[in-house]
Subunit: 265 residues, 2 copies
DNA sequence: GCAAATTTGTTCGTATGTATT
DNA sequence: CAATACATACGAACAAATTTG
C-alpha cells in the first residue's frame, strides 16, 4: 500500500497547519516554491495536494494571490429551545434579536417577501394537509455584521388570512410576533412544536446568498419547525437554513442553569 | 465570464442525474466514452468534471468498475428530546433501542471501553471543573443493520467512583441507565441537560469507523450533552458523533402530538 | 492609469500503476 | 492471465486574476 505523493505533500502541509507553523490566515508557499520543496514534483502534483487540503476545508486558494490557511469563524450560537407557547426560539422574532445583541453582533434583516402558492409536497406533508392546499409564505434573510447568516421561510394556511389574519399578507414585521397575532385574531394558540434537523449540501440559491465556495464543501443545516395548536393540528411550518461553517445550536431540556452562551470549540 | 469545459460537462451530467436519466445506483459512461461524447475533451478534463460531481456528493467512483450515481440513504432519525430526569433521548439507553426497533432496524453495540484520564480542555470546560480534573470515560460504538451509525463517549467525574459508583468502571452495560444508577448510589439526580450541536469535518478515526470517503466530504454532526444535577452543577458530559449523510434529528417542545417518525426528505 | 510580474486556473498530451472483472 | 477502468504523475501551454512598479 503506497501513499501517493500528493497525499504525502498534503499530509506534510497539514501537519504544519495543525502545529501552527502555518498560522491561520497565513499564506502557503506558491506552487512553484512547493515544487522545489517537495523533490521537484510536478506542478500538477502540488496542485493535487492543495486540492486535497481544500476539500478538507483547511486551506482556500485565491486566484492571483495564493493559497491561505482558513481562519476559524467565530460561530453564531442559536438556542432552539424556547417557550413553546410563543415560539420564540430557533432564531425567531424577539429571541433572535436578544441572542444576537448579547453577543455584540449587529443584526440586519431583509424585507419580508410574501408569496401565495400551492404548497410543495414537503410542505403539505409537514402541515398534514391534502396536496393542492394553498399557503402563504413569508420569507426573510438575515445578516450578522454584514455576513449572510440564515434564511427563513414560514408557511401558514391561506385559510388564516381569509378568516381575518390579514396582516400575514403584509411584507412588514409583525412586532408582537405571528404567534401572538394569530392568538389575538383567530384564537389559535401555539402549544408546542417539533423541530426536524438535517444536514445536506446547499442548492444554488443558498450557495449564492451565503457566498459559499461553489464546490459544495460547506453543508447546510436545515431546521423545519412544525408548530401545533391546542388540538394537535399543525398551524405553521418554518424552514430555516444555516450554513454549517458559522452556526451552532443549543437545546435545553429540564432545569439548566443560566450561563454564558459564548462557549466555543 | 466563461464557464470552463469541465464545469459544463459536470452540469450536463448533473442535469441527467437530477432528471433521473441517470438513475441512483446507475453507472455513468466510462471516462473514454465521456471523452467521445463531449467534443473529444481530454481524459483529464472529463476526470475534472467527475471530480466536481464527486465533491458535490452526487457520484462516487470505484477503481476498476466505474463511476456510479450515489443512492440516498434512508436516514436514521434520533429524537433528542426526552425525559430530562432520565436522560433517555439522544440515542441513550432504552430510548435508543426502542427508536431503532420501531424502524425495523437491527441495532448492535460495541463493548464499552472505559478509560480514566485527565480531562481534555473541552471536557473540563463543559463540566465546569478546573483543568487537571480526572474523569472516567465510557466509549461505545453503535451499528444499525451492520452499518456504523454513531460513536458515543460519556465523561463522569472520577470522584463519583471513589464515592461508591464503582460500576462506572466496569465495561458492562448498566441496564437501569447510569442516571438511575447515580441516583441510587450517590443520590445525584439529573434535573436537565443542555445539548450543543455543531457540524464539522471528520477526523481520521471517524472517517475510518464510519467508512467515510477519505476526502472529508461527509460532515460529522457532533452533539455534546451536559447534564445538570439539582444544584445546577454539571454531572456528566456525553459527546455523540453522527455522520451527517445518514442521520437526522427531531426535537419536541411543549405539546406535540404522537405521530409517525418515518418522515423522509 | 497602465504595463509587467506573479500566481492560480484550465486544458491538452502521455506514460505508468492499481483494482476489478 | 488478459481486458477494462480508474489513479497517479509528469510536462507543457495559455488564460485569468491580482499585485506591484
Amino acid at each position: 500500500m503506497v501513499t501517493p505523493m500528493y497525499r504525502q505533500i498534503a499530509e506534510d502541509l497539514r501537519g504544519q497547519i495543525e502545529t501552527g507553523q502555518l498560522a491561520p490566515g497565513g499564506r502557503l508557499p506558491t506552487e512553484l516554491e512547493l515544487r522545489a520543496k517537495y523533490n521537484n514534483a510536478s506542478r500538477n502534483t502540488v496542485r493535487d495536494a492543495i486540492k486535497w487540503l481544500t476539500a478538507l476545508g483547511l486551506v482556500a486558494t485565491r486566484p492571483g494571490q495564493g493559497t491561505f490557511v482558513v481562519e476559524k469563524i467565530d460561530p453564531f450560537i442559536t438556542t432552539l429551545s424556547g417557550d413553546p407557547k410563543t415560539g420564540f426560539g430557533g432564531g425567531e422574532g424577539t429571541r433572535y434579536r436578544s441572542e444576537v445583541s448579547s453577543r455584540k453582533r449587529t443584526p440586519k434583516t431583509s424585507r419580508i417577501r410574501v408569496e401565495i402558492q400551492e404548497a410543495a409536497p414537503e410542505v403539505v406533508e409537514k402541515l398534514g394537509k391534502p396536496s393542492g392546499t394553498v399557503v402563504i409564505s413569508r420569507h426573510e434573510k438575515r445578516y450578522l455584521d454584514g455576513t449572510p447568516w440564515s434564511m427563513l421561510t414560514s408557511f401558514y394556511l391561506m385559510d388564516f388570512v381569509t378568516r381575518g389574519a390579514v396582516r400575514l399578507t403584509s411584507p412588514e414585521d409583525i412586532p408582537e410576533g405571528t404567534v401572538q397575532y394569530l392568538a389575538d385574531t383567530l384564537g389559535i394558540h401555539q402549544m408546542g412544536y417539533r423541530d426536524w434537523l438535517a444536514v445536506r449540501t446547499p442548492d444554488g440559491n443558498e450557495a449564492e446568498f451565503f457566498r459559499l465556495p461553489p464546490d459544495g464543501r460547506t453543508s447546510i443545516i436545515e431546521i423545519s419547525r412544525t408548530a401545533f395548536d391546542g388540538n394537535g393540528q399543525p398551524m405553521r411550518l418554518t424552514v430555516s437554513v444555516y450554513p454549517a461553517d458559522r452556526n451552532q445550536f443549543l437545546i435545553d431540556f429540564g432545569q439548566v442553569p443560566e450561563q454564558e452562551k459564548d462557549q466555543e470549540t
